[in-house]
C-alpha cells in the first residue's frame, strides 16, 4: 500500500513533503532498536489517542501531573507505562522531569526505549499536525512489518545532558557519522541514543521546515514560497504558544 498521495487535499502538496512522510511511515512500521514494528505502530496510535484523552486533558489542568488518579483512553499493544509515556510526551511535555524518566526505568521502560518511543511519537505528531493544519484527514497507519528489535545503543552514548544518554557533540562518527558534522547542537543530540530517531526527524524537518543547508540561508530558501522571516515567524509563534524555551 502506498501512503500520502494527498488525492483528497484541496491544495497541491510539495512532493518532498509527501515523500518524507511516506518514507517515515515505512520506518514507523519496521522493527526498531527497542520496539517491534507492531509496538511502534501502537505508539503511533497512542499519539492520536492522547489528543482526545480526557484523562490527559484533566491532568494537564492539575497543579501536578503526579499522583493524579485515572486511566488513559488507549488502544492495544503497549503496557501502561509506555502508554502514559506517549501521552505525557504529546500532551504535557513541559512537566516531564528526570525523576519521572528514571522512575519509568524502574517500571520497565528503559531510557533507550523511552528515546525511541519519544522519537516516534513526535515524528508521528508532526506528520499528523501537518494534516490538521491544511484541514485534511489523517493518513491511515501502516501495517506493521515483522522482525525483532536489535537492542542497538551507540557505544559513545552517555549520560550528562538532559534526561537520557546522548552522543557527545563531537560523537557523530563511525556508524553515526551521517547524523551531524563536527559539532551537534543539543536538539540534534537529544535522540542520538537511537540514531534512526535522529535520521527520521532530520528527514521530516528537511521537508516541513528546512534542511541543515537551508538553515544557513537567511533570505529565501529554495523550493519554498515563504522567506526565512515568514518561516521563523510561524515557527516562533507556535513555539511561544507551546512555551518552548529551547
Amino acid at each position: 500500500m502506498s501512503y500520502f498521495k494527498y488525492e483528497n487535499s484541496p491544495y497541491v502538496i510539495r512532493s518532498d513533503i509527501a515523500e518524507a512522510h511516506a518514507s517515515f511511515w515505512e520506518n514507523l512500521a519496521s522493527p526498531g532498536n527497542w520496539w517491534t514494528g507492531a509496538e511502534r505502530v501502537a505508539i503511533a496510535q497512542e499519539v492520536r489517542n492522547a489528543l482526545s484523552c480526557e484523562f490527559c486533558a484533566s491532568r494537564k489542568q492539575a497543579l501536578s501531573p503526579y499522583n493524579f488518579a485515572g486511566e488513559h483512553q488507549h488502544g492495544e499493544g503497549l503496557d501502561e507505562v509506555a502508554i502514559d509515556a506517549v501521552h505525557r510526551v504529546i500532551t504535557d511535555q513541559t512537566r516531564i522531569t528526570k525523576t519521572w524518566v528514571e522512575d519509568n526505568v524502574v517500571k520497565g521502560l528503559s531510557k533507550g526505549a523511552y528515546v525511541e518511543l519519544a522519537g516516534l511519537a513526535v515524528a508521528v505528531l508532526s506528520v499528523d499536525e501537518f494534516h490538521r493544519a491544511i484541514g485534511v484527514a489523517l493518513e491511515v497507519l501502516p501495517d506493521a512489518l515483522p522482525g525483532a528489535p536489535d537492542g542497538y545503543m551507540p557505544a559513545l552514548a552517555s549520560e550528562g545532558t538532559g534526561y537520557v544518554p546522548m552522543l557527545p557533540n563531537d560523537g557523530a562518527i563511525g556508524k553515526e557519522a551521517d547524523l551531524w558534522g563536527d559539532r551537534g547542537a543539543n536538539v540534534l543530540r537529544a535522540f542520538s541514543a537511537v540514531p534512526n530517531a535522529v535520521r527520521d526527524w532530520m528527514m521530516i524537518s528537511s521537508a516541513q521546515y528546512l534542511s541543515f543547508e537551508g538553515m544557513a540561508n537567511f533570505d529565501s530558501p529554495e523550493n519554498r514560497s515563504i522567506n526565512r522571516m515568514q518561516i521563523e515567524l510561524v515557527a516562533g509563534r507556535v513555539s511561544a504558544v507551546n512555551e518552548c524555551f529551547y
Binding site: V12, A123, Y163, N186, Q208, M229, R237, Y246
Partner: protein, 113 residues
Amino acid sequence: MTETEIDLQGVNGDAKAADTGVQYGAELMQFAETFARRDDEALTTARNSLLSVAGEAVLVDAAGVAANFQRMVRIADSMGIPVDDMASELSQSIRTELELTRFEGARNSLSAG
C-alpha cells in the same frame, strides 16, 4: 542580509508587530497561533484568511513549519535538553525581549548553568 526592520513581539502574538517587515505577517501569525492553540474553528478562519491573501503554496509551506515546531518543543522538553549557549549576547537579548524565562521548560537551561 535583507536589512529589514521587524518586531519580535509578533512571536508573542502581537498582530501589528507580526506585520512589521514580514509580508502576510499578521495572517501567518494568526494561522500559527490558532493552529498551536488547537482552536479548530478559529484555525479554519485563519487558514482561509491566509489562503485568500497569500495563496495555497504559502499556506502549505506555513503548515509544514507549524507542524514541524509541534515536534520541536516536545523533543526539547521530553529529553530535558538545555539551550546550547545561554551566554550568547544575542540569545540573552531575545530571551529578555520575549520574556522566555516565564516558560516552565526554562528550568532545563537555567539549572544547567
